[in-house]
């Protein structure tokens, strides 16, 4: 099926990583449920909200890198991951 739908390794890795993030966060949530709290973001957020905000901004960070520079996207990825971690911890 992978060959028939032309799945490329990059995309497979991309979705596997996202699925793993979701799975890990689900297990984490079951082990220690979170409550809404207020961090540096202007709204009260749960862990899931912060993850969503982090992933969405990661997409925009990568697109911005693509649009305005020729720097390799690995840098954009590093920035996104750092931003996601900051969000999850202090957001």
């Amino acid at each position: 099926m992978i060959a028939w739908m032309n799945w490329t390794p990059t995309v497979v890795v991309f979705f596997v990583v996202i699925a793993m993030i979701l799975a890990v966060m689900t297990v984490y949530e079951i082990v220690s449920p979170c409550t809404e709290r207020k961090g540096f973001l202007p709204i009260e957020t749960t862990r899931g909200d912060r993850l969503f905000i982090g992933l969405l901004s990661a997409a925009y960070i990568n697109l911005t890198f693509l649009a305005v520079s020729d720097i390799t996207l690995w840098v954009a990825l590093a920035v996104s991951v750092a931003w996601l971690l900051v969000l999850l911890r202090w957001g």
């Binding site: 032309n6 490329t8 693509l66």
Partner: protein, 288 residues
């Protein structure tokens, strides 16, 4: 009696999840997959990485249609939201007249998009259309197929005609939900009509209005059929909005990789804006 927590009911969601995966998730993943490839035909696909994204982001035609799209959606909101509130305020509160108004106002909402496009295409024509002919008789040179401004005005007018009723109906239901006691209190204070609107009706309409703004923004941001039927995106490309540019790319030129990259960017914009509205709605509810 002690309640025993039992989460097994979640398994009942499984069929829906599988169905959604089959009809929405996997197709979306396919789009992501196509966006990193150059596809010529079955078995002839080449991995190109982020090249399409880079090209799409730098494409002036797309940037132009994105700007047009935002301008259009902005005008749609600026006109339809105040107009909808105004219409709702003027509608009779109840009785036969109220029902009659509701039915009359709801009629445009029942007409399919392509029919709306066709109606306005004929209605606005200078030779056989009542509206176009009438404007021309007033001595104003009006031709929506040749003049950019006229085309824009016609598309906007059509959208206002089609969708202001939705805003009006939403606001009407919001207004009816305000208890009579509020108005009585305002009367005792000898509040002016404007004060009643500003301090009673408008705050009470807040949540309805957020939904109206969200619906109207999303719909106008994804508009396709009406301008496609009315102007075909012309004159030139002056009324070619995002979805039409995308369709031309995906179906007209069969440029699947580029169209996939573009639709992902489109999707991200829509996702961001919907999330902002959604957060605003839930936030407004919490404040209550």
């Amino acid at each position: 009696m002690e309640k025993i927590p039992n989460n097994r009911a979640w398994w009942l969601v499984l069929p829906v999840f599988l169905l959604v995966a089959f009809s929405a998730l996997i197709p979306l993943m396919t789009v992501v997959n196509y966006s990193v490839q150059d596809i010529f035909g079955p078995g002839q696909a080449y991995y190109v990485g982020t090249e399409w994204f880079k090209e799409v982001l730098a494409d002036e035609r797309l940037q132009d249609s994105l700007i047009r799209q935002f301008v259009f959606s902005g005008f749609v909101l600026l006109i339809q939201i105040p107009l909808g509130i105004g219409v709702a305020l003027m509608m009779p509160k109840s009785g036969v007249k109220g029902s009659l108004c509701l039915i009359l106002i709801a009629i445009p909402l029942l007409i399919p998009w392509n029919v709306v496009g066709t109606i306005w295409q004929i209605f606005a024509r200078g030779d056989i259309g009542l509206f176009g002919w009438g404007i021309n008789q007033l001595g104003i040179d009006y031709n929506y197929t040749g003049d950019t401004l006229d085309a824009w005005l016609t598309v906007l007018l059509m959208d206002v005609w089609h969708w202001t009723p939705l805003v009006a109906l939403l606001c009407y239901s919001g207004l009816r939900a305000i208890p009579e006691a509020f108005y009585q209190a305002a009367e005792i204070d000898r509040a002016s009509k404007w004060a009643v609107f500003r301090y009673i009706q408008l705050p009470r309409l807040k949540s309805v209005l957020i939904i109206a703004v969200l619906l109207r923004f999303m719909d106008s941001f994804m508009i396709y059929i009406e301008p496609f039927v009315l102007t075909g995106g012309g004159p030139g490309s002056s009324t070619t909005f995002l979805s039409q540019t995308l369709t031309t790319m995906a179906i007209g030129q069969f440029d699947l990789g580029r169209a996939a990259a573009f639709s992902l960017i489109y999707f991200l914009i829509v996702l961001l804006i919907s999330w902002l509205f959604f957060t605003a709605i839930t936030h407004a509810d919490k404040e209550k």
